[in-house]
């Protein structure tokens, strides 16, 4: 069973000629089949955690370990992490001009699966996955994320999640910027992947709204660069009622 283990992860960024510590010792274990929600106020370091796990070059790891099934993730390049089974649905997916969605998906699936998918089954697979996410077939011919609305970008991220079938999926604010219909469609996509039981999900969110559609097993409050409190789904209800104030005011306590 795939397990992602994060131990005492410390991360800095360079900003304005100064080194700033953003993650101050994050501990978390995500197992295949589990869903963890990470909730926290703006600027608490949620995206930093997600990007650091994916290997974004802007973030410097200064301490701690991350392993996937015992393998050292921090030693891997960005593409190796993806091929090892990590997937990051991004908060702000990037436009790639001149690269069509269909070319991108196929290149990606080829890399992840280690061989080019058979063309006939592949076309069908993509078409059906797009239909399930209410994506117009014309998206396949558009350039990656170019001119996509916020909601379309998020559907496109979940489309990739469904096609690439990672061991661990990190979803960074997949819910933000979505209207209620889009939220439902996207959540159904995530749930289809979860229901296979083969993915561990790290659902990063600011709002409790998405947790009505995607039921987490564990909820973690993220504040000031670390996990301030962990609990079951009931913790989300508490946050819903009380907000993050308790965690941002007096400093975090685990």
């Amino acid at each position: 069973m795939a397990t992602l283990e994060i131990r005492d992860l410390r991360v800095t960024v360079e900003a304005d000629n100064a080194t700033k510590e953003i993650l101050k010792g994050v501990d978390l274990t995500v197992k295949q089949g589990e869903t963890h929600a990470i909730m926290g106020p703006n600027g608490s370091g949620k995206s930093t955690l997600a990007y650091s796990l994916a290997g974004h070059p802007k973030y410097t790891i200064t301490g701690g370990t991350v392993t996937l099934d015992g393998e050292d993730v921090l030693e891997m390049s960005v593409d190796e992490r993806a091929r090892a089974g990590l997937f990051l649905a991004m908060q702000y997916p990037v436009e790639v001009p001149g690269v069509s969605v269909s070319n991108f998906l196929r290149t990606s699936a080829t890399a992840i699966r280690g061989e080019a998918p058979k063309l006939r089954t592949w076309v069908k697979e993509v078409k059906e996955a797009m239909e399930r996410l209410n994506m117009d077939p014309s998206f396949a011919e558009r350039n990656v994320n170019e001119g996509f609305s916020g909601g379309e970008k998020k559907r496109h991220e979940i489309l990739q999640l469904e096609l690439l079938k990672p061991k661990i999926a990190i979803l960074d604010e997949t819910d933000s910027g979505l209207d209620v219909d889009a939220l439902r469609v996207v959540s159904e996509g995530v749930n289809r992947v979860r229901e296979t039981g083969e993915v561990g999900t790290l659902l990063i969110t600011h709002y409790t709204r998405i947790l009505r559609y995607i039921k987490p097993d564990h909820v973690h409050v993220f504040a000031a660069g670390r996990i301030a409190e962990s609990g079951g789904p009931e913790l989300a209800d508490k946050l819903e009622a009380e907000g993050y104030e308790a965690y941002t005011k007096g400093g975090a306590s685990a």
């Binding site: 993806a82 990051l88 991108f104 290149t107 890399a111």
Partner: protein, 393 residues
């Protein structure tokens, strides 16, 4: 009308749109156009038209010390119905499309012995391209080539430059009324070649001209494509693609003169640069004269800087002497290879070199698609891949 310009280190982008009573495109030049090399002083390098060019690498083309030698082969393959002739200096068709505007072009005109003239008779519609293979075997040459299409003729011409040469040339494109000419000029020279040329297109009434300039090779390549219109309703599409490697100087200087009402022009040049001292220069001048009402023009230059140490100078310049136009605009942008794009692709398992290839292909894709000749498109994509392979390896 001018778009935002993002400028990384090692590049300049200076754009202007001037509404003027009189053009500065002409007055900026150090001498008026002339067929006689003696009318141009030897450039010292600070002149507007020479300031980006490494004169010391021109192998004497600019100062009269270059001497013609054997060692440049021109092979023309033309389908039936096309006349291919070699003519003397006194042929009336020479120099009809334009006059040399700088010393090297005038040197070429003053020094060539025989000129090539390719004629597609009126109403002849070719289904196969005319292929001109220019191959250098180390020689120095001064050349003149005319490609003339009669009224309503249609042709595609592919001019290939390969090998090693020092070449100064003028190329004239004369389009009769309603004619359609596509010219693909590929500069795929070896590393040492020096190629300086002026291209003059004279576009007949309702005629359309598409130029595709592709520069990969050479030590110095400096091309000067120019367009004027002989009647109303003419259209010019000037596409360019360059891939400037370490040490190469590739300069494309364009001038479209809207001297006739109701004509169109569309200029799109895109370049990628990689390696130390790769230098690309793009000058895009568009002049809309007072009488050219109903003009519709747009020019764009984009550069993708793949590595440190490369330099781009991009100068779009639009001069408008009449307000009675359909549209006029320009854009120039030079960007670094976008690490966020790279990250996104790699985060989907795509290895770095493949991700880079996707992005660069993507950068050129839209332009390549506009060429509209399949085997050329495929060849260009293959050639871009080769350039990238060489850099990634």
């Amino acid at each position: 009308m001018a778009e935002a310009q993002n400028i990384p280190v090692g590049s300049t982008t200076a754009g202007s749109i001037a509404v003027a009573a009189e053009s500065t495109v002409v007055s900026r030049m150090s001498a008026p156009p002339s067929f006689d090399v003696a009318d141009f002083p030897v450039p010292h390098g600070r002149e507007e038209e020479w300031r980006f060019t490494p004169l010391e690498r021109l192998r004497g083309l600019h100062d009269g010390t270059a001497v013609a030698t054997e060692g440049l082969k021109v092979d023309v393959q033309a389908p039936e119905g096309v006349t291919v002739a070699t003519v003397g200096r006194d042929d009336v068709r020479l120099g009809k499309a334009g006059t040399p505007v700088d010393r090297v072009a005038a040197q070429a005109y003053s020094a060539f012995e025989k000129a090539g003239v390719i004629t597609v008779p009126k109403e002849t519609v070719l289904t196969e391209p005319i292929r001109v293979a220019v191959h250098g075997e180390g020689g120095t040459a001064f050349a003149h080539q005319v490609i003339e299409l009669g009224a309503f003729a249609e042709a595609v011409v592919v001019i290939d430059h390969t090998g090693d040469a020092v070449l100064a040339a003028n190329v004239d494109y004369i389009l009769g009324d309603g004619a359609k000419l596509t010219v693909v000029s590929v500069q795929d020279w070896d590393d040492k070649a020096v190629h300086v040329a002026q291209h003059n297109a004279l576009i007949g009434r309702d005629a359309s001209f598409k130029s595709v300039v592709v520069t990969f090779g050479g030590d110095v390549v400096r091309l000067h494509p120019r367009v004027t219109y002989a009647g109303t309703g003419g259209e010019a599409e000037l596409f360019g693609l360059y891939f400037t490697d370490a040490g190469q100087h590739q300069e494309h200087r364009l001038l479209v003169t809207h001297n006739t009402p109701h004509c169109k022009s569309n200029v799109v040049y895109k370049g990628a640069l990689q390696g130390d001292d790769a230098h690309a220069v793009w000058i895009g001048d568009v002049l809309i004269e007072a009488k050219a009402e109903g003009t519709d023009t747009y020019e764009m230059n984009r550069n993708l800087v793949l590595t440190d140490g490369a330099r781009v100078d991009s100068v779009p310049n639009l001069e408008i002497e009449t307000g009675e136009i359909v549209g006029a605009g320009h854009a120039s942008a030079t960007g670094r290879f976008d690490d966020e794009q790279l990250f996104y692709l790699m985060a989907r398992g795509i290895p770095e070199h493949e991700a880079r290839r996707l992005v660069v292909r993507g950068f050129f894709a839209e332009l390549v698609q506009q060429i509209g000749i399949e085997d050329i498109e495929e060849r260009l994509i293959a050639r871009i891949e080769e350039e990238l392979e060489a850099s990634v390896a």
